[in-house]
Amino acid sequence: MSATMTLSPISRRRLAVFRHNRRAWISLWIFLVLFGISLCAELIANDKPLIMRYDGQWYAPLLVDYPETEFGGFLPTGTDYHDPFIIEQLETHGWALWPPIPFSYQTLDMQMRQPSPSPPDSRHWLGTDDQGRDVLARVIYGFRLSVFFALVLTVGSLVLGVVFGGIQGYFGGKTDLIGQRLIEIWSGLPVLFLLIILASLVQPNLWWLLGIMLLFSWLGLVDVVRAEFLRARNLEYVRAAKALGLPSHLIMRRHVLPNAMVATLTFIPFLFTGAITTLTALDFLGFGLPPGSPSLGELVAQGKNNLQAPWLGITAFVSLSVMLSLLVFIGEGLRDAFDPRHIQATNGTATRITPHAS
């Protein structure tokens, strides 16, 4: 990876090609902004004030759980800041700064004027779901969770896929043969059944899901990396490195891996979208994250179950399709940027049409 981090002329040209692709470049920025916003979800959608002043003292409910007794209540449990009594207390004894959306992803709105699911209004910009939770808050948290899940899964798959694919491809022969057969058997295991069985044994949380998915998601990458390593190990500069007497791990890291990085990087956006889709699908089926977690898949399921409340389905559809489209556009841009034909075309054509001019 370090070889591609220091910008060689090739990488610089790739970056230029990528930036030149306006759709991909804009998509990348939109995605980064959205992800950046969702990273601060707690500041945007929360059922606690960000900061408040009560009886001449500062409080930060976001960071500290204050018991209700602190604000004149009766119970020594955590404060419910949506309780009309507490709200009244706050208004008379000081002030509170609320986030733009005063609901977290699992806040049940007790003061709804309509039965849930309620349509969008000024209180709930995208309405509420059938349990009275704010849809916009759930979308923001759900987006963050999906991207986080996909990010961890992608990085994990990358590491596993590159290591296993690299070893198989570089050493070839028996190593490759045995490795490939094991992978074929492994990939024959039904992932979905495993998850269903798991769901009956333990309460699957994010990490369980990640672990199980990670066991299988790297398999697709192995073929790509292995093929690149198989090809690259016979390149003359790799043979030259062998002739120099360099040890295998050094040759793999310095000479072969950069070759495979192109194919691998091109694969990343598709791994990413795949991970998001899988998580959504699992949540939709009910085998995914524990109940109550902010999840786009669960929103889709709610949309399906409440066809009379179209804002649920439409929100789920729009947020998922925007997210996936952005990622696909970025992926396309990356693929084009790494396409050697593109690079050559910007480089000059004389070398291309007369290959024997070498």
């Binding site: 002329p9 030259a240 120099l244 007497g245 049409i353």
Partner: protein, 532 residues
């Protein structure tokens, strides 16, 4: 013979995105004659031929006049161009491996041009295809009709290409380096076939090549190109006898010359006994019999003294590179290899790795053998950093600079990347990478074959200098006898993995005894030069 031009270019210029590649080239090909378009790589010879036939990509701007017989080619419609190409003008390209479609049989590929241009189909097309295969002297034409390209050898494929080119009785044949990818003995047959066909059909031929030996033997007139400009044009005899421009003179005198230094010591450095390389073949069935292994190198023995150059000569597939790989322990082999009285074949793992700095290799392809992602200083110092971890950064850089100077490269190139260098410079970088480890033996695997003649000559001089200064032993692998003669003390001729002849260089190349060596020497043009 009436001197009427068949094909004429008037002030043809080609520019890519504003960069002029061919500058006002004028030439004419007459009926029944071969005009050779000669130049080194990048001189624009292929581009001008492609430009003349409107085969360049859209970002090329072609200007100037083009005539075939009486027709001007300047304002032809796309349809007219298609009728012309493959019809009255036949093409033969360099790469026989890629210019045939691997998914179609021979009959189908040749039949396609017949169908498009003559409307032949079915039996008639097949009949005509068979005739063509006979005409290009392919063996067993009936069988080859249904052969796939991968079943043919390089020479056979090129014959199929020729059959396609002459299928529609063209008046002009454009042959773009038709034999460059082929072995010298095959090369001769193909060119003789082309000569014969040209006489038979009375075609004009535009023969694009970089090889002056071929021009001398197969062309009537020659046009020399340099950096897109015409240098001189004239009958072959005149141009070779009295070249008018300095560039042409250089080109003609670019034949590698000189002799290696006489040997000082007889102390043996490398000694191989009964060395052989065999590759196992895959079994047909799970329980089938193991087929006999493919023997790439038959058991052979060779010896190399300190400061000596042993030339290993042979055509592609003769096992010369495999032999070198086996000697360097980069390919598994059987037999005994002694390096400086140590059994190299018994070393493994780390012991072997530590020894590797004593024998190095320079590969054929100057573009493939340098990692495009590392700057030159990294490429050169990589081995040094591994074998001498005790050196400080300062010392490493110092060694890199000294080595760059030794191979004749400018000091400032250390921080640049390989793609900024020409083929000859890259090969110097590869040499620098090898010698910085101060090896005793360097295997040179066709180091000059991807280079232009004039660059070859410089590299040969550099290699001989290094040998003299450092007392290096070379194992020089090549199919180019002219270069071998300038480099080697002794020569070993390989054919199909077997040594057919070996001995002193002058003796083997001057008076070859084996018929194969004789054929090699004859087709390489060495004999001709000796008699001239």
């Amino acid at each position: 013979m009436p001197v009427e031009p068949l094909f004429r270019l008037q002030d043809l210029s080609v520019a890519f995105d504003g960069v002029t590649v061919v500058d006002r080239l004028s030439l004419e090909v007459r009926r029944g004659e071969t005009l050779a378009l000669v130049g080194e790589s990048g001189s624009g010879k292929s581009v001008s031929a492609l430009g003349a036939m409107d085969l360049l990509p859209a970002n090329a701007a072609v200007s100037g006049g083009r005539w075939l017989e009486d027709t001007s080619l300047d304002h032809l419609s796309a349809r007219a161009w298609r009728a012309l190409r493959g019809g009255r003008v036949g093409f033969i390209f360099q790469e026989p491996m890629t210019s045939l479609n691997p998914l179609h049989t021979v009959a189908k590929q040749i039949g396609e041009t017949l169908r498009l241009h003559q409307g032949l189909s079915g039996r008639a097309a097949r009949e005509r295809t068979r005739e063509l295969l006979v005409q290009v002297k392919l063996p067993r034409p009936d069988e080859l009709l249904d052969a796939w390209p991968h079943q043919l050898s390089g020479g056979q494929r090129q014959r199929v290409m020729i059959a396609m080119a002459i299928a529609n009785d063209p008046v002009l044949l454009i042959a773009d380096e038709p034999t460059t990818a082929l072995d010298v003995t095959v090369q001769r047959d193909i060119l003789n076939l082309l000569d014969e066909l040209r006489g038979h059909y009375g075609m004009g031929m535009l023969f694009i090549t970089h090889d002056l030996n071929l021009v001398k033997r197969h062309a009537d007139r020659v046009c020399v190109l340099y950096e897109g400009r015409e240098q001189e044009t004239g009958p072959v005899g005149d141009v070779f006898a009295n070249p008018r421009t300095a560039y042409t003179r250089n080109l003609i005198n670019a034949e590698p010359e000189g002799q290696p230094q006489p040997l000082a010591s007889q102390h043996s450095l490398l000694d191989a006994k009964q060395l052989s390389v065999a590759f196992s073949r895959p079994k047909r069935w799970l329980f089938g019999k193991q087929p006999a292994p493919f023997v790439a190198v038959q058991p052979l023995s060779l010896e190399l003294a300190r400061g000596e150059t042993l030339g290993i000569v042979g055509e592609s597939g003769s096992g010369k590179t495999t032999l070198a790989m086996a000697l360097l322990r980069l390919t598994p082999s059987q037999g005994e290899i002694r390096f400086d009285d140590e059994r190299l074949d018994r070393l493994t793992g780390n012991d072997l790795r530590k020894h590797r700095k004593r024998f190095q290799i320079v590969f054929q392809d100057p573009y493939g053998s340098l990692s495009p992602r590392l700057p030159v200083s990294e490429i050169i110092s990589e081995g040094l950093r591994f074998h001498h971890p005790e050196l400080s950064e300062q010392e490493v850089l110092h060694r890199v600079q000294a080595t760059l100077k030794e191979v004749g490269l400018p000091q400032d190139c250390a921080s640049r990347y390989p793609h900024e260098f020409s083929g000859g410079q890259r090969q110097r970088i590869a040499v620098a990478r090898a010698i910085i480890l101060e090896p005793e033996l360097v295997v040179l695997d066709e180091p000059t074959s991807a280079l232009d003649r004039s660059v070859q000559k410089q590299l040969v001089i550099l290699l001989r200098d290094l040998q003299r200064k450092r007392g290096l032993s070379y194992l020089f692998i090549s199919h180019d006898l002219a270069v071998v003669r300038a480099m080697a003390h002794r020569v070993l001729v390989l054919k199909d993995g077997e040594v057919v002849e070996q001995g002193e260089c002058d003796q083997v190349l001057g008076a070859p005894r084996h018929s194969y060596t004789q054929a090699l020497v004859e087709s390489s043009g060495l004999g001709m030069m000796a008699s001239a």
